[in-house]
Amino acid sequence: MEAKYSQAYHNYLERINNIGSTEMVINMGPQHPSTHGVLRLELITDGEVVKEVIPHLGYLHRCFEKHAEAMSYGKTIPFTDRLDYLASMNNSHAFVMGVERMLGIDDKLPKRIEYIRVLVCELNRIASHLIAIGTYGIDIGAFTPFMWCFRDREHIMNMLEWASGSRMLYNYIWVGGIFYDLPVGFEERCKEFIDYFKPKLVELDELLTHNEIFIARTAHIGVLPSDVAINFGCSGPMLRASGIKWDLRRVDSYSVYPELDFDIPVGQGLVGQLGDSWDRYKVRVDEIKESVKIIEQCVERLTKDFARTTDFDPRALVPKKVNLKAQSYYVRAENPKGELGFYFETQDKSDIPRRVKARGPSFNNLSVLPELSRGILIADLIAILGSIDIVLGEVDR
């Protein structure tokens, strides 16, 4: 192997082995609880001050892309569930949309299927944001919101389990349709859940959002200016907290989102600076409220305009074999964490893709961490990392 291919690794070793006399190397992770999984951060510190952060990824690498090149499109859907395992519905929705557009069946789908997809995706978005908020609280030392968030998330998990048969990894959204129609009574249960959940959101706001200690720990911490956020490819709540109104549900207006009424919350720097950790937290809280609005509208349409009929077959359009001509396509969708993209490169006379690349939002959002954490305190690093809300299943793929 040529020397220049391993040059960067030797440079890194040299940096670690020859640190200055006032510096110290500290390993944070991979078993550190506040890294939200198996992320290892190597810190070069001077006392309490972090001089440099070197992230080490790959502890959860499961070769998603290699698997996707070995099997047909439909069989890959369960693997996409395991990318961002806290928002499996959104992952498979993005993947399925890409395949459907290449097949040209995306505008033939019945409205009921589209509304069911959006409904379960938004339920999953709430579940994902609840985890983000709850674990962020516990990172900073607030234990109660964590329990409350998990209690409310459990209702969503039970509902989605009722629909799909699985608690977290659903395999519910298929190419050309969905696995089964919603179980009888699901819409009513959604309504009950929304009625139960709305007061809980107010409680959560009182407990955490305007909590003085929480604000002291998060305001003015990890300020991410919008130009840096764009340059580092940050998306989702990360980008919106920096003041950019960029939501792919509106930009690309895919599925039935153009027919639904919701706002895009952006960061405003209410208690600190624009783009600080508190803003990122607040955008997620506001997005939950918007998702609740979307769910209400979906349930309304699903019970009235597109109500259940006995002869409705949610698998009518599911192709027996996905036959595509050689082409390339990049599909993107708004996940709870940001822009999830799939780049397909297909080949002729085969239902197996040549290449599938998953562009995980967490991967890009995490890459800004070394930039954000130069010259901060170690305790603040936890606050910043928590506010990025990464899922290692998606970072490592």
Binding site: E2, Y5, A8, K66, G233, R359, R397
Partner: protein
């Protein structure tokens, strides 16, 4: 939009620096390898395009042809455009002679990790990258697993990988 863009690229950077290829729904601009860095900087900074957001970098292996490709998916936050650039890299697949291409990590910082991933899994060498280490696999891994002709090593650090 894309025809106009391609014409302007050819006018500014010389003939044959960009050609449009039709591959289904999304059109792709095939970019000359030597002009890539200049074109990317121009695309990012030119009024009317402002492709300031690099979504992803994908490396593709065209086995059994001795050819690789690097694909750049750009989007413009201001104008809400999307664009796909593609660069073809013929190469003989030897482990001591990787395909080489200019790094764009100075233009979009997000390219840093994407290029490290392409180096790690597909073995594309990005000239001018500040820190081109493996990112997902261990640093002592041999070979590039996403290549179609990759064969798994039988042992890794004295542990059998097959069993």
């Amino acid at each position: 939009m894309i025809n106009d863009l391609c014409e302007r690229l050819n006018r500014n950077f010389g003939e044959d620096s960009a050609t449009i290829i039709n591959e289904g729904l999304q059109q792709t601009i095939l970019v000359n390898k030597d002009k890539l860095k200049d074109i990317c900087l121009w695309l990012r900074d030119t009024n009317g395009f402002y492709f300031d957001f690099l979504s992803s970098i994908t490396a593709v292996d065209y086995f059994p042809k001795n050819e690789f490709a690097v694909v750049y998916n750009l989007s413009s936050i201001v104008y809400q455009y999307q664009l796909t650039l593609k660069v073809l890299l013929p190469n003989g697949r030897a482990l001591n002679d990787l395909p080489e291409i200019d790094s764009v990590s100075a233009i979009w910082r997000t390219a840093d990790w994407h290029e490290r991933e392409a180096f790690d899994l597909m073995g594309i060498f990005f000239v001018g990258h500040p820190d081109l280490r493996r990112i997902l696999l261990p640093d002592d891994w041999i070979g590039f697993p996403l290549r179609k002709d990759y064969t798994e090593a039988e042992m890794y650090r004295g542990i059998s990988t097959t069993s």
